[in-house]
Amino acid sequence: MLRKIRLGVAAALFVCENLFFISVGIGLGVFEKVQLVPALLAVNVAAIVSIAAVTLLFGRVYCSTLCPLGVFQDLVIGAVRIFAKKRFAYASAHTVLRYAILALVGVAFAFGFAAVPALIDPYSLYGRIATHLLQPAAYAVNNVAAWIADRSGHPLIFKQEIFIRSTLAFSVATASLAAIGFLAAVWGRLYCNTVCPVGSLLAVLSHRPLFRIAIDRERCVGCGLCAKVCKSVCIDVNAHTVDNSRCVDCFDCLESCHNGAIRYTAGAIGKPKCLSTSSYTKEPEYRGRCFFLMGMAYFAATTAVAIVRKHIWPVPVLVPENPPISPPGSGGSGNLLMQCTACHLCVAKCEGRVLRPALLEYGLGGVMLPRLDYSRGFCGWDCNACGEVCPNGAIHPLTLEEKRKIRIGRAVYNRVQCVLVADKVSACGNCAEHCPTKALVLVEEKDKKKYPHINENLCIGCGACEFHCPVKPLAIHVIGIK
């Protein structure tokens, strides 16, 4: 029963999260906002406290339901089970490696080196898979439907443009899909219990949750069936113990046991009997309380650091000399480098096909962070989607009025390349025609041609002029501001 509930909840959440990424419906974005790393970065206290409380009470259910990468791994393992007989066996935890990675992530974050956490944060990792692989696939299906609708004389579906937004991000998404899929197929939840910073953070809290998986020694016959289905490889049948810091509460083991010896209950099973051999049982009790306190302290400290880092004393990050154009509401590249984990939700949601993952424009630490590229569109006058959807607080939500006033770059005009000079046509003015703020106006000069002039105070850097500029190389382009 528990397992079925878990499957149902996980499936529902997974579908919602994916639908939001492939741009169907705007209201489902709440599940992106309560992912742990984004919640920590955005100091979403309600989400952090809820996740901590749930973990303390029920263990790492987060990892089996809310985390899209966790559910994806379960899907892979499920698929493997259909085609082959998959058996897991108990292995001890890589504790040192695990917390070393967590520390590394923390340090990288503290110094605004977003690329490291961006690479291994499970939500961001899955976000890139959804944006660069799932969304194009969904678009392809959509376009076939649109083609059929067009052909039958009822054009009701918008065709979507499919293109590779960035070769690097596409490759990273493909590689991580392959790597995580492989790890899951062979070693189960190895990634979650060794590499994943979220898994490590939650592990601290779930050493001894109130409700947990435990083995009833009286009923257990030591057949080991439960250990064979355990993808977290955390059930030690010989010792009759379960490593709850690694258990992701998938409940697969509950259904494997013929004797009802393994159960999900509050507290340990068979306590009275254990109490008689005092020295044996006292230690876990003590350790449990200790871990609980330690975990709470740790979690509180993390939250406190996040708050301080964001509001009180921002860590000075290395901002590049000529920064690219960062999204409206990001508050410049410095803020983006501190807050963004490159989940690419904004990239997936960008209506103008403008947001694209950066290569080295933000420096080495800012690989894959979103930047604006005006070759396929421009930042729409009536669009503020990126700020609305950003779960990290890297791009602040803006009202349309605010967004239309925010300056993200400035247009630069290069007369030598202008179509009026290079192509010797008599009139163009396509840039001025499309400038939404009228920062760009045409002024007639001596040769009776009208040349564009830019009013720096009015220019917001939306790129309408750059997108509509007819010549290559561009006579007008937008550069980022510091």
């Binding site: 649109a146 083609w147 059929i148 609708a149 067009d150 052909r151 039958s152 009822h154 054009p155 009701l156 579906i157 918008f158 065709k159 443009e161 396929r376 569109g377 009536d382 179509v419 192509d423 046509v425 008599s426 009139a427 163009c428 003015g429 396509n430 499309h434 509509h468 007819p470």
Partner: protein, 465 residues
């Protein structure tokens, strides 16, 4: 429009119809399907013969009422660099089998490949059995030497010793005609060639105004003329139309001079073959089973001084239909037919459109705009009276969506009207002067932006409520 209830049955019907339509059109469009049809036709022992009409400038010569237009020939890839000779040869054979003996090409068709094509595929027929027409590309001639070079190259490309008909291509601007043909002396040169026998008959293809025609007929002697003539641009004698392309007046002027009239664009780029749904209803009510194209062809061919209609051979179903219409049992349009057709055209003229004939001379646009496609898309809404406009009776959120979806799905983002910079290069090439491409582009862009903003406003109001 009434509210459409969407039921499961309707959806199923749409899906089935859509799937069948796709299957059918795929088969019809596929090259293999066309070739199979042509091979099948070659086995016919008694093919339908086209009507032939004596050609006054050359006693004893008869020309088929339908001529092979060379502007849109089968190609293997989109940028015209490779002609589809296998299919092209079969199409020409098809034409000859059905009595076609007039082939029309030009210097610019398929970037010069068009002339080479006819040279190759007509090789197997005796030179006397067919008539070949070629044209001097007026707008590319900058000196007399250019013209001489073009003419010699054309003979070489077509692999012939002489052209039966030779035309001054696309007379559209009066001063251009004066400059090229009179001042540079290209016309005198062509008359020399005619005296030498390398041109049998000299004429011109015409896209200009009535005064220009008056000048041409008064100043020079011609053997024939090629004009755009179709029911849409036709004006009656007592109509006294002053604007637009006055095909009727031009035809009467040529008739008065006893010049046989060759007709191009008899279907006005396919528009005569589609009209709009209301006009279609009128014609279907009058005579079931006759296609709109057939009505259009009959209209032009019924005029007593019309020699031959030139038609593109790219759409097989239309070719077959045209051959049937202009065959030996061609039916002249009766008075009653004229009355019916007039009623249908009145329905059609209620909704003004951009009269682009899809000749594609304007392409490629240096700034990437798909000009003919954009106009065709716009006309598909304008011609049916379906433009979502502020006060229009048809305006609704659903229609706006249909309009925007259709634009989005038909024209790629970087080829839309907003990339037109008004450089006017297309105007040099466009033979139509009743509208100006950049002006229409700007209108379309503004209109789309307007509909978009209306659609967005209504949408956002709805979503916040």
């Amino acid at each position: 429009m009434n509210d459409r209830g969407i039921t499961r049955r309707r959806i199923l019907a749409f899906l089935t119809a859509g799937a069948m339509g796709i299957g059918g059109s795929l088969y019809g469009l596929s090259r293999a399907g066309v070739i199979r049809f042509l091979d099948e036709d070659a086995k016919d022992e008694d093919p339908v013969q086209l009507q032939r009409k004596p050609y006054p400038p050359e006693p004893g010569r008869e020309i088929s009422r339908l001529g092979f237009g060379g502007i849109r020939l089968p190609i293997l890839n989109r940028n015209d660099s490779e002609m589809d000779y296998e299919l092209g040869q079969k199409l020409v054979d098809y034409g000859v089998r059905h009595g076609m003996n007039y082939f029309d090409t030009g210097w610019v068709y398929h970037h010069g490949q068009g002339e080479v094509f006819f040279g190759k595929v007509l090789k197997k027929y005796p030179r006397e059995s067919f008539m070949l027409a070629d044209k001097m590309p007026t707008w590319l001639v900058h000196s007399l030497d250019d013209a001489k070079r073009f003419f010699k190259e054309q003979l070489k490309r077509c692999q012939v010793e002489y052209f039966d008909n030779y035309l001054l291509h696309s007379i559209s601007k009066f001063d251009e005609f004066q400059n090229v043909y009179e001042k540079m002396g290209v016309l005198d040169y062509l008359k020399e060639e005619k005296a030498r026998g390398r041109i049998r008959h000299l004429g011109f293809s015409f896209h200009s105004t009535v005064p220009t025609m008056e000048y041409l007929l008064e100043k020079h002697k011609w053997d024939f003329a090629l004009i755009m003539l179709n029911c849409l641009e036709w004006d009656d004698e007592n109509e006294h139309r002053q604007s637009g392309y006055r095909a009727g007046t031009l035809y009467r002027m040529l008739t008065a001079k006893n010049l046989p009239v060759f007709v191009m664009e008899p279907l006005s780029g396919g528009r005569v073959a589609t009209l709009n749904s209301k006009a279609k209803k009128v014609l279907e009510a009058a005579e079931l089973g006759r296609s709109l194209a057939s009505w259009g062809m009959r209209f032009a061919a019924s005029l007593p001084n019309v020699q031959t209609l030139l038609s593109g051979m790219n759409k097989l179903d239309q070719v077959v239909d045209n051959v049937r219409t202009l065959s030996t049992d061609f039916e002249q349009m009766t008075k009653q037919d004229h009355e019916t057709y007039g009623r249908a055209l009145a329905e059609y003229h209620k909704y003004p459109i951009i009269p682009c004939t899809m000749c594609r001379y304007c392409m490629p646009c240096p700034y990437g705009v798909l000009i003919p496609e954009t106009f065709a898309w716009y006309n598909s809404f304008a011609g049916e009276g379906l433009l979502p406009a502020d006060a229009g009776p048809n305006d609704s959120q659903a229609l706006r969506r249909k309009f925007l979806v259709s634009y989005n799905n038909t024209i790629p983002p970087l080829a839309r009207a907003n990339h037109c910079i008004n450089c006017r290069k297309c105007l040099m090439a466009c033979p139509q002067w009743t509208f100006r491409i950049p002006v229409e582009m700007e209108k379309i862009e503004r209109f789309v932006a307007h509909v978009q903003s209306q659609y967005d406003v209504k949408k956002s109001v709805k979503s916040t409520c």
